[in-house]
């Protein structure tokens, strides 16, 4: 028997053999208990660190995957919008009513669905959305008068239902009539109120940034 055998060595055990499993089991149990307690105290103190831990734990590949997912959602939305533009023939198939000049039919915040097909000629009584040259804002009014030539050239006058006079005062200086090229589309259907969100986002840009930021955050962090 070697002279240097330790006092705690179990009897009959030779030094060059691996240590018996008894000691290892005890150590593992102790570590687990210690670990659980530590995490508990840390989480109670700073709960948002848990969320950041989640993000850090996502390895690079998962992060790229989330970004690609986000890109796919944005592209699909864009494709649907462009598809609508093709089907309706209008450059802006959905518009929000911005003024009260068509009350009581349409109020500020209503959403209109437009078509602008060449086969449908413009006739009186139709509700058209048009842009005046040099101005961005589209106007939603009803056609009051049309004069159409044999070859299809048409000039027309509009008026808001709720306005006392026709729109000549709104047109460009010297312009007396509107033409087909000024038309964005004809209103075919509508839903009330929903466009209020767009008006809010325009009037309060901070609201718009907040919504976009929250959306982006949600998509990036969402695990699926």
């Amino acid at each position: 028997m070697p002279l240097w055998s330790a006092a705690g060595d179990p009897p009959g055990w030779q030094r060059d053999e691996p240590a018996p499993p008894r000691a290892r089991k005890r150590k593992r149990g102790r570590k687990r208990k210690r670990g659980r307690k530590r995490r508990g105290t840390r989480a109670a103190a700073m709960p948002w660190l848990d969320f950041l831990d989640d993000v850090r734990r996502m390895n690079k590949r998962q992060l790229y995957y989330q970004v690609l997912n986000f890109g796919m959602i944005v592209s699909s939305a864009l494709m649907i919008w462009k598809g609508l533009m093709v089907v309706t023939g209008s450059e802006s198939p959905i518009v929000v009513v911005l003024s009260g000049s068509m009350e009581p039919a349409f109020h500020r915040g209503d959403l209109l669905f437009l078509t602008n097909r060449i086969e449908d000629p413009i006739r009186v009584g139709e509700i058209v959305v048009f842009r005046i040259e040099g101005r961005e804002i589209p106007i939603v009014h009803r056609v009051l008068k049309i004069h159409e030539k044999q070859n299809g050239d048409i000039k027309f006058l509009t008026k808001g239902d709720n306005n006392a006079v026709d729109d000549r005062g709104l047109y460009k200086r010297g312009q007396h009539w509107l033409e087909k090229k000024d038309v964005v589309g004809r209103a075919r259907g509508f839903v009330p109120y929903i466009g209020i969100v767009t008006i809010l986002m325009n009037d309060y840009p901070k609201f718009k940034y907040a919504v976009l930021f929250l959306l982006g955050l949600f998509v990036l962090v969402h695990r699926e």
């Binding site: 006739r123 009584g125 008068k145 004069h147 030539k149 209103a187 259907g189 509508f190 839903v191």
Partner: protein
């Protein structure tokens, strides 16, 4: 749906201006039932004239319009109405025009959904006189 229109006209120089007085007797229905169902918010009714001239193959002018809200009676019984809007032609095409057609149409505005434009059955065609009126008895 019926429409009786009698007119009294006096075109002017430079651009023809027509003066019209009319009667409307109309009952707006949706087939056999009432037009105001659960999804109809209002009716926008308008009287329009359609005619052809030398300058323009097709002209349409709205002479008069009215909003009928849900809850109001969809029957119209109007006599001796004057046109709400000036009936100007683009040029001098009203003088001696044989065929001016008056039609009543309406836009059904729903609470949400499609916006149909309906033309009433029954229309009246009138000729305009060959001369201009120099004194206004309107």
């Amino acid at each position: 749906l019926r429409k009786n229109v009698e007119d009294f006209t006096g075109p002017r120089e430079r651009s023809d201006l027509g003066f019209v007085t009319f009667d409307i007797t109309a009952d707006i229905l949706n087939g056999k039932k009432c037009i105001f169902d659960w999804n109809v918010k209002q009716l926008f009714v308008y009287l329009s004239v359609e005619y052809s001239t030398k300058n323009n193959a097709l002209n349409q002018v709205v002479l008069w319009d009215k909003v009928i809200l849900r809850g109001d009676n969809p029957r119209l019984y109007l006599k001796d109405m004057k046109s709400k809007y000036l009936f100007f032609d683009d040029g001098n095409g009203l003088k001696g025009n044989k065929n001016i057609t008056f039609t009543l149409s309406w836009n059904v505005v729903p609470n949400a959904g499609i916006l149909p434009l309906v033309t009433g059955s029954g229309h009246v065609s009138v000729p305009f006189p060959d001369t201009y009126e120099t004194t206004k008895s309107y």
